[in-house]
Symmetry: C2
Subunit: 214 residues, 2 copies
DNA sequence: CAAAAAGTAGACCATATGGTCAGTTTTTTG
DNA sequence: CAAAAAACTGACCATATGGTCTACTTTTTG
């Protein structure tokens, strides 16, 4: 109803995707202010005016991109319940987040930059949907603790640390690449995933699910 | 010999400090490109030309600031030895890094932004001094493991995760503030520190030193 | 105390950049 | 197939910004 021919495979929708992809690449490398519309245009191989045709302004493009990125964050962990197994649920969540860091590092970087700068465009989201999500997750972890399924770890901090460790592999890849002497490949991410899972689960006094052992 | 009257309490040195402090605040909030020399001048309450008088260019000021920041990272962990106690050494390191996140969040943010953007100005440092530091620390942790003092955790990943968790509290403070409904005070940082120490040490199968229990 | 060095500051400029406009071409649709 | 809608694009503009130049004032020093 809202969007009739715009969301289809129509030429407009396709171009929007191209532009968003180009913007993601550029913003991740140079930040919002550091990226010019011209750069995005070059990356997208479209004239500059075309960019402004699809997105009212540079800021409009940025906000649209940010929205796109936030929807990527959706995970199976959103739908976990008190009846689920904490070890498997948490391990799966870590693994999913690590996969995101590997496959969408630019999205992670843009998100990080936005938060670093005080989250001017995400504050509203943080104070509404995100808090609600958080409360839901915390309640479930708390109930796992009360059921004696895992050690009494503050669920809020637990989530902070999962985010910190997993996102680190995307956000700080430049540092990691220097220190490892090579950029991380799929196998390295798998090893890193095992390490994070081990860390997180041992912090919760949980056993590592078979599928994540070695 | 190199600097005679410049490094003293002379008017020049004092102004440089004022400018660096102003630049730290501005760059942390808006990034390198997002910060104008005029903004820094306003923050420092000095005319713009004065900034360019002390630092050849905006980039020069940024590099000087980055150098300043890197020197802050020095820690007792730099001088730890194979004879030291891993539990105490690691717990102290985490505690020190958490204190840095609380007292110098802007420095942490600038560092994060630099790395996020591919570390253009830090790459040289990463590939030399930083690798050397890393190799030294990894060797010591490895020897702790060989001495049976701690579980066999990959030291490289261990350090990555310590950095990730501790720096997270500075870099993602905007998100944390929203989710906690208030900005973290000293007491919150102390609690967070205990949580990180618990996580890291349990990952290494180490007992928490008395001074960090409750 | 006079000369030199250091510090201060307004005027100015070249460039880059976000964004508008007006006109054209292509695609869709009744 | 013609009219309308969507897509495209070069020309243009106002503004912001990094940085220079020149001249003036204050501080240091021999």
């Amino acid at each position: 109803m809202a969007n009739k021919s715009k969301m289809d495979g129509s030429i407009g929708a396709k171009n929007k995707q191209i532009i968003l992809a180009a913007a993601e690449k550029a913003f991740a490398s140079f930040g919002f202010k550091g990226t010019s519309v011209q750069q995005i245009a070059d990356e997208a191989q479209l004239p500059k005016t075309n960019i402004l045709y699809y997105f009212k302004s540079k800021q409009g493009l940025y906000v649209a991109l940010l929205q796109d990125i936030m929807s990527l964050w959706n995970s199976r962990f959103d739908r976990v319940t008190a009846a689920d197994d904490p070890a498997e649920s948490l391990a799966d969540y870590v693994a999913e987040k690590m996969t995101m860091s590997r496959t969408h590092p630019q999205a992670s970087k843009i998100f990080a930059m936005e938060v670093l700068n005080g989250a001017p465009y995400l504050n509203k989201y943080f104070n509404t949907e995100h808090v609600a999500w958080m409360n839901g997750r915390v309640a479930i972890i708390q109930s796992w603790i009360e059921q004696g399924k895992m050690a009494a770890i503050d669920p809020t901090y637990l989530l902070f640390h999962i985010w910190a460790c997993t996102q680190h592999y995307a956000d700080f890849s430049a540092q990691i690449t220097s220190l490892l002497g090579k950029s991380m490949k799929r196998a390295d991410f798998e090893e890193a995933t095992r390490q994070v899972i081990k860390l997180v689960l041992s912090g919760c006094e949980l056993d590592i699910p078979r599928k994540y052992q070695e």
